[in-house]
Structures are given as C-alpha cells and as structure tokens.
Amino acid sequence: MKKKLLSVILTAAMTASLLMGCGGSADTSAPSSDTSASTEEKADTADTADTAASGEVQEITWMFWDDLNATEDLISKGYAEVIERFNKDYEGQYHVTPITTNLEEYYTKLNALVAAGETPDVFICSPGANMNDYALTGVAAKLDDYLADGWKDTFTSDAVFSGSTYPDGIYAVPLNIAAACVFYNTEMFEAAGAEVPKTFTELLDTCQKLQDAGYTPITISAGTAWCLSMVAGYLCDRNGLVLDDVKEHKTDWMDEKVINAGLQIQELSKYFQKTAAGDDNDIATAAFYNGEAAILIQGSWAIGQINGSCAEGFAEKVGVFAFPAVEGGNPDANRVIAKSDSLCMSATTKCPEAAVALMKYFTDDTAQKYTAEVGGKIPVTSVEYDTSVAPPELAYVMDVFRNASSTFGFYNESLADTEAGSTFDNCFVEIFKGTDPATALQPIQDYYEMNVW
C-alpha cells in the first residue's frame, strides 16, 4: 500500500512539473507572436511615459562582437570612443551600455536574447544571410523614416545601403566599408622585376617571377575558410558568374564559369606558401607582415594591423592593387568585394529616439574621420579627412574603391543562407587540396537542389 502511495506521489510530482513546464511553454513558444509583441509595446509606451514625466535617464543597449577594452583592433577602439562620446554628450538623458561577446558566440547570444524578448536596442550585423534572419522576421526595425530627415544625404551614395536594403525598406545603417584588395610588398616586386598584374595570366606570371627570385609569392590561409573563399569569390565573379542567376536557377554550380574559377585556384595555389593548408588567418597574415611573402589578399582592415602592429617602416613598403581580370571572362573587371559593419535597431526598442541618436553618432564626422584616418577603413559618409594623417594604403584602397563599377559581398555571406555559404567555402577548400572542381562542387550543387531551387 505504502509502495503504491510513493509511486503515485512520484508520478504526480513528475507530471506536475511537466505540466508546469508545458504551462510555461505556452507563452514561450511564440516569442515573436503578435500578442507578446503588443503587450510589450504597451509596457513600453507606459515606460516611456514614465520616463518623460520623471526625467529619468533612458537606458539602451548596444551589442557588438569584440570587447571594447581588451581589443587591439583599431576599428573596435573607435567604436569604444563613440560610445564614450555619446554617453558624455547625452548625460542625464540617454545612456548606452555595450553588450560584448566574441565573434564566435555573437549570433548564438543575439538569437538567445531575441528569443527571450531581450533584443538589444542596437546591434551590429553582417549584411547578407545573417541579416536576413533579423530583417525578414521583424526583429529589426525599418529605418527609412529615421533616415529621411537628411541623415541619409550625409552618406556617400545610396550604394552603401545596398546590402541592407530589402523590398520594403532599409533595415540597417552601414558604419564603414572594407574592400577586399591585393596587398603587395613593393620592395620584393622591385627586386624580382615584377609588375602589378592586370589580368590573371599576368598574375601567374608575376608570381612565377617572385618565386624565381626566391620569395614566397602569395600567403593565404586555407584553414580560415573565408580567406580562400574571398579569392574564390573574386575568381567566380571575374569569370562572369552572376549570383542571382544561380539563385533563380538560370544556371547552376556546375557552370563552366565556376569550374574555371576552380581550375584557376588550383593554378594559383602553386604559388601559395607551402603551409597554406594548415595556417590560420593570423599565421598567414603574419607571413606578409614579417616580410616572408610578397602578396596578401585581404580585406582593407589589414591596413589597421599593418600600421598598428608591424615593424617600423613596413607600412611604406606596402602597395595595393585591385584583383586582376580574367581574359574572356566578365568584361567588367572593376567589381570589388566589400563588407560593411552595419547597425540594426530592435523593432521592440523602448526608446527609438535614443537608438537612432546613437546610430547617428557612429556615422557623424568625428567617427567617420577616425574610421579613415586611424582605422583604415573606407568611410560611408562624405566626410573630409586628412589624407596626410591617414595610412598611405588607405589612399590606394580608396583608388581601387572609387574605380569600382559596383560592389558585391563575400560569397559565403551572399548565398542563399549561412549553410550554403559554408558549403561553398568547403567546396573550394576541397578544390584547393586538388580535387577535380566538378567533383568538389557537387555538395553545393546538391545543397541548392535540396534547399534553394
């Protein structure tokens, strides 16, 4: 009898806790549903009303993928200054608290916060597949109304918004642009009698000359997927691949243009440093900074590193050129891979005014001047900056960027979704390791057949 009683109690406890759980689940299951959103809104308006009446400081949060104190990244340091400036200027009215994680856990944490209804008021996000998850789902707010008051006119062109423009409006504000360029060691080029190449054949030629002169022609990391993928993206584009055509299934990944790009990677890989397969990005870039290799294909954030942590006098030796054209490929060889740090605003922010004010601080003249002069990235507004202070490489990158007919994103961020991007990266790593392109590209073809087309 007693035994029975016990088991009954235990089962009861178990079911009770389960029911408790399920009861709780009813409202957690739809974090972005209308009901919860509207209750939050009500609470929000009540909150703002309270604040307005009492004159309390409006707290907002800003989420970013690097620690603002421990960082050595010059752009991150610039952001830290913006935050400090904002908090000082708006003292007593608004106050922003940064939430920082490292890049690896950034989207995990952001997604968790969103799911729990604690979306940060302003958060950084990469345009492309990542941003889709916030812009298309109503997590991020549409910004057109805020941009319309003349803010948008301060930007260099509408093109800077291309990554964050969706059919119904603009969902993010870019802060700076990094363009993927080819950095080279002018000293080595001179010693080897090499010229800046305009076409892919010339590039191979240049590499051969460098190799004959005893230098490592190109340093690249195949261990960090996006590095190799950047070159792959350029080659696909130079061969004339149009990503939208792939998306709409007008062509596929077995297209001759992609296969060609693969073959070209294999040709080029003869000139990579021997340890390319195993080096990660830090090690590969260090080989260029240490003067071991002649060419580094990298985003323009490298400028900050070259001027920040390299040996004295190295920065003067560095030249920049645009990725060469492919003969018989895309006639427009002036397209540039560009990536921007962009800010989204939460659709459920309690105080859009404060959030917008903060975003404006990131794009004001002081911040943009810093971006160019110290950070070495391309500013998004038409700010006047002191070219004599700015790192010499920035001028070259600016030349490349000004000559660009149009920009396109990193391939791994511009495909149908993040998984497609990773699949693309992996395919090109396989190609780099010597697999026949048609075989190596099968996974991305399969992925599109299953999930996209």
Binding site: L6, G24, T28, N102, T108, A112, A115, D282, A286, N290
Partner: protein
C-alpha cells in the same frame, strides 16, 4: 629479488618522469608565450622571449577585468559545489542505500541529464530563466550549474556508497542509529574520497564553463572568468600573448585549490577509509 624489484622501481620512475614531462612542457610553453608579444610568437613560437613582457599580465588583469570575474567565478563555483554536494549526496544515498522499487529508474532518469549536450537545452533554458528575471544574475547561472553537476555527482557517489560494506550499516542499525543518522554518521564520512573527487570534478567543470555563462550574462560586472578570457579574441585577429597571460592568471587559483585538495584525498585514503 630485491635488486630485481629495485630495477622495476627504477623503470617505473623513469616512465613516470618522462610522462610528467609530456604533461609539463606544453604548460610551460603557455607560461613562456604569455611573456612574448604576438609578432615574435609568429616568427619563433618556441624560443624564449628576449625580454619578458610582464606588461601582458597587467594588461590582461586590468583590461580583461579579471579581478572581478575571478571573484564571480569563485562565488559561483563555491556555491554550486556546496549545494550540488548536499543535494547529490542525499539523492545518491537514497538510490544506493535505501530500498525502493524505483531506485534504478530514478538513477537512469538523472543520467539523462548527463547525456544531452548543453547546446541542445541552451535556448529553452535561457528563455525560461529570463522569463523569471534570472538572466544577468549570478543566481541565474548557479542554478543550472548545480543541476548540470547533479547527475555526475549522484552517479559517482552512488558508486562510492555501494562500496561501503553493508555490515557497517547493520552495526549502526544495532547501535540504534536512525536512517538519517546512518547518512550523516556512516555514509558521509566513509565516502570522503568520493566527495573530494566529485567536488573537484564539478568545481573544475564549472570553473571552465563558457557557453552557458556567455549567453546568460551580459553585464560586465557579472561576467565569469572563461567569458572574460574570450575578450582577447578579436573579429579579425587574436591577441594570443595577452590571452595566454590571462589564461595563466585564470589557472593559478584552480591549481592552488587543487593542490591543497588533491593531497588531502590521498592522505585520507592511504590511512584506509575502511577501518571497520
């Protein structure tokens, strides 16, 4: 016989020493690297630094806010340790010593908790906790830590309780001990080693736990040590040397605590836990 055994002893010691080197050299490398700067690290990773960069340590300590996060980690891990021990040993006693039909089933039920990766429960757990306002508090990570430590604590302690000879309980029973008395006077003292081992394991696991703490804690003042260590990983490059300095700083308290505890374990043991 005696020369032979001496030779065997010698071989054993040589083997143990070589193995110890395999363990110590990589860790020594971490310490050496923490005194270099990144540029040198990339050129000659194994060389000694020309001039030890102690500023890496001061940078790591101040910029990583390590003082605060060490304290947080310490608070979190200690509370977790005590509570998971108390709850765990009670449950283990009930499962291993007390007699009821569902003991086995309950054990398996707890074991499930050990088997699911924390990644799977992260988001549901976070939603649940932030609903009751526990996100961004130390309590908010202490509770999951206790719960995650429980299955392994129970599992190991059950093993230790089962190893206690039954006669001891019978003797206690004859002496008029109640079921509660047997717990405090027989089971707990005799499973001392078990407590040391499980305590160490859960303390260490929680001391190093990153993902949950990373997601649950946004406030700078509440960050735990592993979260602070990730500060040196930037989006485009990593400050390896400063990170290693921070890692060394993070290790020191664990090693100190561990050395104090670990020796106690063996001392307590060799006297023979089972004197009865």
């Amino acid at each position: 016989m005696s020369t032979q055994s001496k030779i065997i002893k010698g071989i054993i010691y040589v083997f143990l020493t070589l193995l110890a080197l395999v363990y110590l050299l990589p860790l020594l490398w971490v310490v050496i690297t923490s005194l270099k700067d990144d540029a040198v690290l990339m050129i000659s990773p194994w060389a000694l630094p020309e001039r030890p960069m102690f500023e890496n340590y001061s940078f790591a300590w101040t910029m990583g806010n390590l003082g605060r996060s060490t304290w947080n980690s310490f608070v979190v891990c200690t509370i977790t340790l005590v509570l998971s021990m108390v709850f765990g040993s009670m449950a283990a006693y009930a499962i291993a010593i007390l007699r009821w039909k569902l003991a086995n089933a309950t054990m398996t039920y707890f074991l499930i908790g050990m088997m699911i990766p924390v990644h799977c429960v992260l988001i549901p757990l976070f939603i649940q906790f932030s609903k009751i306002g526990l996100s961004n508090t130390l309590t908010g990570i202490i509770i999951p830590y206790i719960t995650i430590s429980l299955p392994i604590t129970i599992y190991i302690l059950v093993g230790f309780f089962q190893g206690i000879p039954r006669e001891l309980f019978e003797a206690a029973c004859i002496d008029g001990c109640s079921v509660y008395g047997m717990f405090t006077h027989v089971a707990l003292p005799l499973a001392k080693t078990g407590f040391m081992v499980t305590g160490l394991m859960s303390f260490v696991a929680n001391w190093n736990e990153l993902l949950l703490a990373m997601v649950f804690i946004s406030k700078e003042a509440k960050k735990t040590l592993p979260v602070s260590l990730t500060k040196f990983v930037g989006p485009y490059n990593t400050n390896y040397c400063q990170m290693f300095a921070a890692i060394v700083l993070a290790i020191i308290p664990t090693v100190v605590v561990y050395c104090c505890f670990a020796n106690n374990i063996v001392d307590g043991l060799t006297q023979g836990a089972v004197k009865g």
